[in-house]
Every structure is written in C-alpha cells, then in structure tokens.
C-alpha cells in the first residue's frame, strides 16, 4: 500500500486544499479539493432567541456579514409572520446594495481581477492589487480605497456598525435614516455609479481588447455546462434582496421557479468523507457525482448563473451591459466559468444604480420602519443573493421564539461541487506528461476556483474569511513535487 506522507507543515494551516495525484506516467490520476474547517453555527444557535440571529450569524463571515444579517432578518420576519413597512425594506435593500458594490469591487480589483488585468503568466509578485494599479493607473488604486470607504460609511449609517451591522430586527429596522444622513449617502451612491462606469472601462480596455484573454475565457478547460440558479423579481430581472428563486437548465430553459420557503423540495446536500463541506445538488435530477450536463444535479449560483437564470437587469446601464455580454459571448446561457468576472462587474453596475435609486426615494426617510409582530412564532425561511450565491437561512422555533432547528445553505456552498469540478478539469487540462509544472500552470488551476470568489468562512460557517489555498502535486511514489500556497 502506497502511503502519501503529508508534511506536518500542511496540517498546521487552516485553509482550502487542492491535492493533485499523478500516475506513473506523470499524468493526473485524480484531483481533490478539500475544505478543512467547520464551526457548527446551526447546532450552537439552537436555544437562542430567534431575533438575535441577525446579530449572531453576522459572525459567520466578517467579509459578508450584511448577507447573513439580511437573510437572517428575513427568516425572522417569516417566523413571526410580519411584513416590514416599505421604508424598512428600502433601508435594508439600500444597505445591501452598498455592500454589494463594495464586495464585488474587492473581488474584481484585489482577488480575481489581477489574473486578467495583469495576466495569468505574470510573475506572482505582480499578480496582486499593486500590479493592477500599475497596469490601470495609480488613479484606480485611490478610487478603490475611496469606494470602499464610502460603501462602508453607507452601511454604518444604516446598519449602526460597518463590520457586523445590527439594526435589522423582525418586522423592520431599529433606526430611521435622517435627512442629513440621506444627503450624505446620496453623494456616496453617485460615486458608486461613476466607479461602476470606470470599471466597465477597465473590462473593455484591458480584458476584451486582448484576444488571448478572450480565447482563454472561451476555452473548454474553463467551461462547464451546468444548471444556473438566481433570484428574480416579478419581471424575472435579477434581484439581490428579494424574489423567487429561478433555476434554468444547461440549455437556458426554466427548470424550476420556487419560493425560498420551498427550498427543501428542490435542494439536497451530499456528504463526502474527505471534506467538512457538503455538496448541494438539485434533488429532482439527483447527485450523479462530479459531472456536468443536464443529467447531473450539479448547479451553480454565481454572478454569471444569476444572469443566466434571469431575463435581464432592472436598471438601464446594467441591462445594456447584460445584452452586450451575451452578444459578445455567443448568446445565453454562458457556461464559461471565467466570464463570471464580467458578470460580476455587470452586477456591480446594477447594485450601484439600484443604490442610487433607493437613496433618491423620499419614502426611505419615513420613520415608519417597524411593525411589531403579533403572531405566534413558528418557522420561516429567509433568502437573499449573497455575492457568492443564493443564501438560505431556515429557522424553526418554539412558541416563545427560541430556536429549535437551524439550517443554512450559504453562497459558496452552492458552488462547491462545480468548484471541485472546475479545479479538476483545469488540472487534467493543464498538467501534461513530462512537461514542467510551472507557476503559470498552477495559477491557471487556481483561476478555475478564483472565478467563484469562494468564501469558505461562509461555506463551512467557519473561517477564515477569505480563501487561503494550498495546491499540492503528489507523484505516484507519494512524493510531493510541487506546493503552492496563497493568502487570499
């Protein structure tokens, strides 16, 4: 029996891990993607008062606490059978839109973007936000810092606190927005829109005008034909805060459209013995393993999937860019994983436009922001689109509103199977017999997962917040022949 010795160093590190096994010929025998963390929020929240959940579940993830705050409070509304006043919903959606702008910006400029903007074969020391700034111009760096500051400020004005907001509670929001605060926010949301336009320019000039990048986006190595999931409004347009969940099949045909409360009829989660994280799939199609196609229950819930699952965007500039993306990439749906970066920028445009609309809505200044629940609490599901995928919070309480059961399916987890498949396909496609495994090859394998902007703090209800990753290549003697680690 051949034994793979994993150096003690690797056991000390808390992060995602890719292990690539090579056969005697130096070809890929198999490739595993493991998530080594678990915290157990679902279990330790049992017994807590349900209205505390929007303040407890923010601590699932310090990068996207707003997503958990919102999914959680919507589940609380459902548990108490209470509808928040319109102004409260608008405040929540404005906070949420500002957060989306900030989060998608972080990913595009600091995490995923460098691969495109600087290039996949650039030296590792260049492939970071500083490299992006060098390529796009110093001005871009200060714009990103300014954007993050203004978005954080908007979240804090509505949510009370920037990291881990606190104001959402069953039936509404705890704090009204003053006119003075709203006027400040108007300045921020106008900046969001300008920034989004600037980012469209970066995509256009740096990525789309480079045929090598476009070829890579369209290459089979980075393509999977899966089902696509996303939240849509009454007109089937993309929405982040509320709506029905729509799933389209790999041909783009509607497969199912359901209310979040019915998620258990649609979704199941598969368990593997070598990872702490589960693998969601479409129950009606079934778990068929790590394969794509119409007969496999694997689906994706990413920015690209949300665009695939919808008929368009609800704001003008975003709609225009939506149409342009599909006409450029050969029509709907698009299954090229790397196009997710483009889709993310289109969502950034939508979030910015939506934030500006909401900030201009006079109703947002109303002090009618609470409806006091009167019904007996029992059970509810709350759902939002997190930046990394559809987020479900499902609570069951006793008659005092103390939690009996908690079930969570979070953004990144939706994409767990497809992330593993994308990494595997990239490894098989890029590692060739006898050829040197260069840094560029390993980076391209990482690019397969980075397109998803994975956050395994959320996924495992664990940590860390971003995604430190390790890739190991092990030959048929069990010798580790290449290791690559990165922080985020």
């Amino acid at each position: 029996m051949r034994t793979i010795t994993i150096d003690p160093i690797t056991r000390l590190e808390g992060h995602g891990k890719i292990t690539i096994f090579l056969n005697d010929d130096g070809e890929v025998a198999n490739c595993y993607f493991q998530v080594p963390e678990l915290r157990g929020f679902e279990q330790f929240c049992v017994g807590r008062p349900v209205e505390e959940m929007p303040r407890i579940t923010t601590r699932i993830c310090g990068v996207c606490p707003e997503a958990h705050h919102m999914a959680s409070v919507k589940a609380c509304d459902a548990v108490y059978h209470v509808e928040p006043p319109p102004a409260a919903k608008k405040l929540r959606e404005l906070l949420y839109s500002a957060f989306f702008v900030s989060d998608h910006t972080l990913h595009f400029y600091a995490l995923g973007g460098p691969d495109f903007v600087v290039g996949p074969d650039a030296p590792p020391a260049e492939r970071n936000i500083l490299g992006v700034i060098r390529k796009v111009g110093l001005e871009a760096g200060s714009k990103v810092i300014e954007l993050r500051k203004r978005a954080g400020r908007t979240v804090a004005l509505i949510g009370g606190k920037y990291v881990h907001p606190v104001t959402a509670l069953p039936g509404g929001m705890a704090k009204p927005l003053t006119r003075e605060e709203r006027d400040e926010i108007l300045g921020h949301t106008d900046y969001f829109v300008e920034f989004a336009k600037f980012t469209l320019g970066v995509i256009e000039n740096v990525v789309l005008k480079n045929p090598a990048y476009v070829d890579m986006i369209l290459s089979d190595t980075f393509t999977h034909r899966t089902y696509s999931m996303g939240t849509v409004d009454a007109n089937n347009k993309v929405n982040f805060y509320d709506g029905m969940i729509r799933v389209v099949d790999p041909d783009g045909k509607e497969f199912v459209k359901f209310h979040p409360k019915d998620y258990l009829e649609v979704l199941g989660e598969h368990v593997e013995p070598w990872s702490y994280l589960k693998f969601p799939f479409l129950k009606k199609v079934g778990w068929k393993g790590f394969v794509d196609g119409k007969d496999s229950g694997v689906y994706r819930a990413t920015p690209l999937s949300r665009l695939n699952a919808a008929d368009g965007m609800a704001t003008p500039l975003a709609q225009q860019e939506y149409e342009r993306m599909y006409s450029t990439l050969g029509g709907k749906p698009v299954h090229h994983t790397l196009a997710t970066h483009w889709a993310r920028v289109i969502e950034l445009v939508y979030a910015a436009e939506r934030a500006a609309e909401l900030a201009r809505d006079e109703e947002i200044l109303s002090d009618k922001i609470r409806n006091i629940p009167t019904a007996t609490p029992d059970e509810g599901v709350g759902c939002v689109e997190a930046p990394r995928g559809t987020l479900y919070h499902h609570y069951v309480t006793d008659e005092r509103g103390l939690l009996r059961r908690v079930n969570l399916i979070v953004g990144t987890t939706n994409n767990h199977a497809s992330i593993a498949m994308s990494i595997r396909k990239a490894a098989f496609g890029l590692i060739k017999r006898g050829a040197e495994i260069t840094d560029g090859v390993l980076n391209r394998i990482e690019m397969a997962f980075r397109a998803y902007d994975p956050c395994f703090a959320c996924a495992t209800h664990s940590l860390p917040g971003a995604m430190p990753l390790e890739v190991e290549v092990i030959d048929s003697d069990g010798t580790r022949i290449a290791v690559r680690r990165r922080g985020c």
Binding site: T3, T58, C61, P65, V163, W274, P373
Partner: protein
C-alpha cells in the same frame, strides 16, 4: 537599525478582524512603513516556512485573532507564541471565544450529528461522516481534528496583551499602533489595551434613571424611546457589564449592547456582572415575582455570555453524569 517585525494571524474567526485592520485606511501605510510585516496570510503570500525558520522571539509584535477550534489553530498559536516577543490576543474570539464560543453550550458530537445526518437538506443514506484521515484510491487525504470545545488564545499559550471587540473598532486599533510606533512604554503584561477603563454606559448618550422594572421586553416587542436608557425600558442591554471602547455604536443605533468588548476592568465574569446589574433593576421584593420576572429573560446563558462563554467561569456545557 532594522525595522521591528510584525505578524498578523487568524485562527477560528470570521475575517472581520482583518477587515477592521484594513479599515484603518491611510494609517495602514504608516504601519507598513514602520514595521517589517513578516507574516499576514490575509494580505500577503503565505510564508509559513519562513515563520518556522525564524529565530524564536524574532517577531516583535504578533496580533493573533480567532479562537482555538481545531488542531491547526492550536499548532499555529504555539508556533507564533514561540516566535513572538509580544503576543496580542486581537479581538473578541482570541480574547474571550466570541460567537464561535457559543459552541461550548453544545458538544462536538451534536454539531457533527446535525450537520452530516439530521439537517433537513442533507441526503446521506450511507451515514458518511468526514474523517481526519481518509483513503482514496490514489492515496490518503487529511483534514484537521475538530476539537471538543472552543478555547481562547490565553487558554492555550501565555498572552501578553488583549485587544477586545467584535471587531475592535478602527480608531482603537489606530491608537494602539500609534502608541507602539511612537515608542510609548508598554503597559504591564496581561493588560487590556485598545479599549476604555469604564463601561459601555459611560459612552452611551441615553438618559439613565435606574428605573425599577416589572417586566423585560425582547428587542422586537417594543419601539424604545431613543433618549432613554434601554435597560430602564426593560430591554436587556449589556452596557453595564461591558468595557467601554466601541463608542456605544449599537445603542446609538437603537439596539441593545450584547457585550462584544468583554467585561469591564476588574470584572472576571461578564455574565455574573450582568446578573448583579439586573438584580438591582427588578422592581419587587417578592421572591416568586422576582422569579417570574427573571423567567422572562429568554436564553440567559446565550444572552449574558453572548461573547464570553469560553473565557467565563462557565467555560463549557458540563456533561451530565448519572450514578
């Protein structure tokens, strides 16, 4: 002279502490100029081997956030303790256990059983459970050991200083780093830094009349008066049992304090301190009525110890032993 060496690390945490550090904005450039940042997995390439190769005690300052939940968290805590002259527990998780520490009110077995077997979305007919070591046809795969309980950093290694908060607020982080960079003398080991010396109530602008109350309200039940003390209005607010330093942000947003800055100076157990504060506001001398009023507090352990179960005298759920 070479620059002082700074390391930042995250164990079992949410990443919010890292965002808080980045939130110091322009100041981060001063920090980067003053220190030689030798290790920061969130923002720089992971150089674990470099840390291991360092001389013991060669890192001047290590800011460690996150609690100790798995075998790797513990190993990293031990390694960084050995390599660092000054080890700081940064944020509520490292200091007190924070929200992940609520897991000490349940057990490892209950957590695993729910996640992999009982949760309604799980489809697991063969009863599969993740294993620390698992043989696949091509070799063996490993994942770390999930511990029975959550521990604070100081429950694993000696800690020099504590910076509380979930997360520590940016102005406090700036204060601490500025003082260090200015060469200010270090406070006595074991001190809490980057926080106030009073309670959250001292930073709260609400009027407190220390009213006696007949019943408690949960936050969703009433719309509180925005100018009056929340506790006076019957809403459990941990302000009296919480260290100052955050600027009373939650209370200013009409939400009660939940205690993320930890116990105030000279208080060992935050929950016990809060119980004594509650005892003084109940408007009754009749033991039965007092009991009735206290019974209105939903989930006392999870409320009074929201951020501090592992560091508290409770520490964790005791397993019932029957004769």
């Amino acid at each position: 002279m070479s620059k002082p060496k700074l390391a930042l690390y995250w164990a079992a945490s949410c990443g919010g502490c890292e965002i808080a550090v980045l939130d110091v904005e322009e100041k981060i450039l001063d920090v980067a100029a003053f220190f030689d940042i030798v290790f920061w997995p969130c923002a720089m390439d992971f150089k674990y081997k470099d840390v291991q190769a360092m001389e013991d005690g060669s890192i001047d300052l290590c800011l460690f956030n996150g609690a100790i939940r798995t075998s790797e968290n513990e190993a990293m805590a031990r390694l960084l303790r050995r390599k660092s002259k000054v080890l700081v527990a940064f944020g509520s998780c490292a200091t007190e256990g924070c929200i992940p520490g609520l897991a000490n009110l349940t057990t490892k077995e209950e957590i695993l059983d729910w996640v992999y077997h009982r949760s309604p979305s799980t489809v697991n007919e063969n009863g599969v459970r993740p294993q620390p070591r698992f043989h696949v046809p091509e070799g063996e795969l490993e994942i770390p050991e999930f511990y029975e309980e959550v521990r604070t950093l100081a429950q694993v290694v000696p800690v020099d200083y504590f910076i509380p908060g979930c997360p520590p607020q940016a102005p406090q982080i700036v204060n601490v780093l500025s003082a260090i960079m200015a060469g200010a003398p270090l406070p006595p080991p074991g001190s809490v830094i980057g926080a106030g010396e009073k309670t959250c109530c001292d930073e709260c602008g609400r009027k407190r009349e220390e009213k006696r109350i007949k019943r408690f309200y949960r936050p969703w039940e009433i719309v509180p008066d925005p100018n009056q003390c929340l506790l006076d209005q019957g809403i459990i607010c941990l302000g009296p049992a919480t260290r100052s330093g955050c600027g009373a942000l939650c209370v200013k947003a009409n939400m009660p304090c939940r205690g993320c800055y930890g116990p105030p100076p000279n208080v060992m157990d935050q929950g016990a301190k809060m119980i004594s504060a509650l005892a003084s506001v109940i408007d009754s001398q009749d033991p039965e009525e007092v009991q009735r009023i206290l019974d209105q507090i939903a989930d006392p352990a999870g409320t009074l110890y929201r951020f501090s179960v592992p560091a508290s005298l409770l520490h964790r759920k005791r397993t019932q032993v029957t004769a």
